[in-house]
Amino acid sequence: MIEQLTDDEIRLTKWFDGELRNDEISDLLAKYPDLHKQRAEMNELGGLVRLSGSLDCEPCEPPFPELFNRQVLRRIQETPATQLSAWLEMARDWFSGSQWAVPATAMVALTAILVSGTRFGSDGVGHSEVLHTFAPHPEHSASSEFIPLAGSTVIRLEGLEAIEATDSITGYFRTDRSDGHSLASVVVYPQAGRPVAVNENSPKVQTGIQLASSTAR
């Protein structure tokens, strides 16, 4: 049974919904002066609800979502059980659709397994692979590709700030030895690329190696 609304309740609802004219609002408020306060409270409450909703719905991105997703996908794809279950799932779907599909599926599965065995049994990729690349700075972008002609895997970084031609760059030439010490030479290149200091055994460099290598993951 639906309860009938009174005229005042209908007017009140219309007012809340913004459907009353100004003169009708004046009449209503004259009759119920407390409605102003109640509407203000309702608006305040609505604002709080919207704020709460917006906070809850705000997207929570992990720090490196692409990296995370890529890693998960790669590991799933690399799992032999995943590959096999995909075959079986596909065969089951086909089996339910047609009785002739089963022998065909079996043949396809057998062929695919043999082909994949042949492929995996070969030398594989043979070159270095970039599984994922990511530039943390919002204005930088990174992309990777394998260039067959160059026989090289390449990472291109776009948006990097250029180094001024007048700024020098310090290069080191060194090889870490098994006894923990290193042979180091420092070359400082000024703007013209002409070294100003060469073959300098630098204590600074040796300190740098020890410091860097002792950083735990």
Partner: protein
Amino acid sequence: MKATILRALSAIWLGLVLGPAAILAPLQAQAEKEPVLALQDCLIWGALIRGSHSPIEGETPLEVGLGERLQTAFGYEHFLLMGEHTQPVLAEFASYVVPSEELYMKIDCEGPVEDGLGLQLQLWREESVIVKTDVILRDHSPVLIAGPKWGEDQLFFVVELKLKDQAPVAAVPAQP
């Protein structure tokens, strides 16, 4: 009746084919993915190289084939090795390849993967990371990273897996 028999035969055929495959495929995959590299034999070679369209004073030949790779990939004709560093790979700790004060690389090793080495690389420019990447590094296959421009020239960071019996000797820097 005929359909039932056919369906039963098909199921038997499917079982005969996929049954052994279900057993053999994981074993085969596991055998194929057995790492062939020993971590203690792996070294990471990192180099900072300047590429230019104009001749560079003090230019010396790069490691065999590297100049050609860079030229084909990026189009520069002249290169100068500005620094290089060879570092053993550490399993439990991060290691750093620092051929330069301005550009260097942090390396976290994920271990041998098939015929390569799984690595997480971070290329740092002074105090900030400019790229993070997951790679499988393989012998004789460098990863070439095009870094920042330096005036009209370009800086490249090259990282390559070396096995210990072929570890490079530190290059002699160019004389002024």
